[in-house]
Symmetry: C2
Subunit: 322 residues, 2 copies
């Protein structure tokens, strides 16, 4: 017995010391071992928490109108704003009139619609590496890998400053077309700026496989989502509701961000997304139809899905037990 | 008889010398005394020439769509493009595909729609005096009087350079919200830039009363319109067609520029011009309806009005007999 107890004690000590090392080196793992994000948010460990999030606010009037309507339906709880876009003043006016709205910033380094475009917040002379040959932010997200890192960081900071100057009090940060998740240096900019601003940012454990640089950069103060849901071009239009329904039915315990792109299939959106069915006018109209439907409301209820917003997650920042 | 002849000769000499002085001091007057603009264009002196001109191209998808449709109706012959606006790429693509289209530049120093705005072509750091406190071109045209003149000229030149970089070969210049007609120094910029680019620009004898600095600045190479027609907010919506009909019926010999603002009263335009019925969505829809109507076509024919474009006027540049 004594011998066995001794071995067990040694093993426990080893495990403890190993855990301490992990704690020092990988605080994230330590956090996961203690409390899940769901628990930190005050819910039972097996709760299924969902953020329904509208991207691209400010990019077009149609996007603003549909997103505001969806936010007011109560089913879409969050959205994020593209500061360099021309319809920023419209969504900023909404944000000022609705300080309770859960609106973050959709940090923007691209201008992807060929007939309708925008430039950076900082002047073209200040951030030349952010521009394509036509003087706008580039059409393709891949172009961001050629940008000067210092200029990217300056532009990101300028977008946040400009949002605040417009009376937007952002609740979170994320990245349009995922550009800031494309490389370690870009992700480090997001982390640095988010932490300095004490804002949560969109990042999901599900992404670690394709972005293996992420876990080591994240700390215990960085709330990490379990999963994101985003519909892909491979889903046929007639399967739209089926796709989302299956995703909700199969939702696992944890925090999931369901990212939708809302607009009406009107003339503005058709003109803007002409020739681009992916994330185009009809796509956005389908997303809008689903997330404002009674079927969606019923589905959430039947599957015990609890809707939350980034505001709740933001309250955790600086409150982690080390 | 001799005495009378002597007096007449002296008087003729005086008239001639006075005319020569006028020629030196006011070449414009000299030009008017020789050939009218109508005659220089190769028409009989009593011809009624009309440019039907759509302003604000590039400002919105709805404006582009309606203006292109109107240009293709054949009744609207000319338009001018706002280079700093987000829908520039769409109208530039049209200009490249239709090199015969009579498209000029609507030089822009304002951003007047409160929910949807744009900045200058040059960076904010380069032309700080052109920005209002929100970092856009100002809402009100009066704000241009506080702009740094050197920055205005640099921005105007940058707008022309950017248009050319987009494959637009402008046929003429004019000024959005008339800002470049507001003062002598601003008008001098327009003149300098237009002459250097060998482009005609919108200026009308009718304006001289309210802008007395104009005539002395104009030379024989500057084609001067006789008149402009532009509908004003005092015209009730139901009187729209009546206003234009009266204007056409009362058209005098000379060159007249009929300036219209075309768009559809769709969601984008309603959102953009919300709360601003003047030059708003319905206003532009009414303009579009009139200038593409059979009634307008018939009216022009019945009143012997000959439609011309800025391209014809541009051919006069550098061809004036001195």
């Amino acid at each position: 017995m004594r011998g066995k107890l001794f071995v067990a004690t040694i093993m426990l000590a080893l495990v403890a010391s190993s855990a301490a090392a992990l704690h020092r080196n990988h605080r994230l793992l330590s956090q996961a071992e203690t409390k899940t994000l769901v628990e930190r948010l005050g819910y039972p460990r097996d709760a299924k928490l969902l953020i329904v999030h509208a991207d691209d606010l400010g990019a077009a009037h149609s996007i603003n109108s549909a997103s505001i309507k969806a936010l007011e339906s109560g089913l879409v709880g969050s959205g994020s704003i593209m500061v360099p876009c021309p319809w920023l003043p419209e969504i900023a006016a909404y944000a000022r009139a609705h300080p309770e709205a859960d609106l973050g910033l959709h940090l923007t380094l691209t201008s992807e619609w060929s007939s309708y475009r925008w430039g950076p917040v900082l002047g073209r002379e200040r951030v030349p590496s952010l521009l394509d040959s036509s003087g706008y932010l580039p059409l393709e997200s891949e172009a961001t890998t050629h940008m000067d890192i210092k200029e990217v960081e300056a532009e990101i900071r300028a977008q946040i400053a400009r949002a605040r100057a417009f009376g937007i009090q952002p609740t979170h940060l994320d990245s349009h077309m995922d550009t800031l998740y494309h490389s370690k240096v870009l992700f480090e900019i997001l982390l640095r700026v988010a932490r300095e601003n004490k804002l949560p940012f969109r990042v999901s454990q599900q992404w670690f496989a394709r972005a293996p640089f992420m876990p080591a950069l994240l700390g215990p103060d960085d709330p990490v989502l379990n999963r994101t849901i985003i519909i892909e071009p491979k889903v046929a239009p007639e399967d739209w509701a089926r796709f989302y329904t299956e995703e909700i039915k199969n939702l696992r315990p944890g925090v999931t961000d369901m990212i939708v792109h809302l607009a009406f299939a009107d003339e503005e959106m058709k003109g803007m997304t002409s020739g681009h069915p992916n994330w185009g006018a009809e796509w956005r109209q389908r997303d809008f139809a689903f997330v404002t439907s009674d079927a969606f409301r019923k589905l959430l209820k039947e599957n015990n899905v609890k809707l939350i917003t980034w505001r709740e997650i933001g309250k955790l920042i600086g409150k982690t037990e080390h």
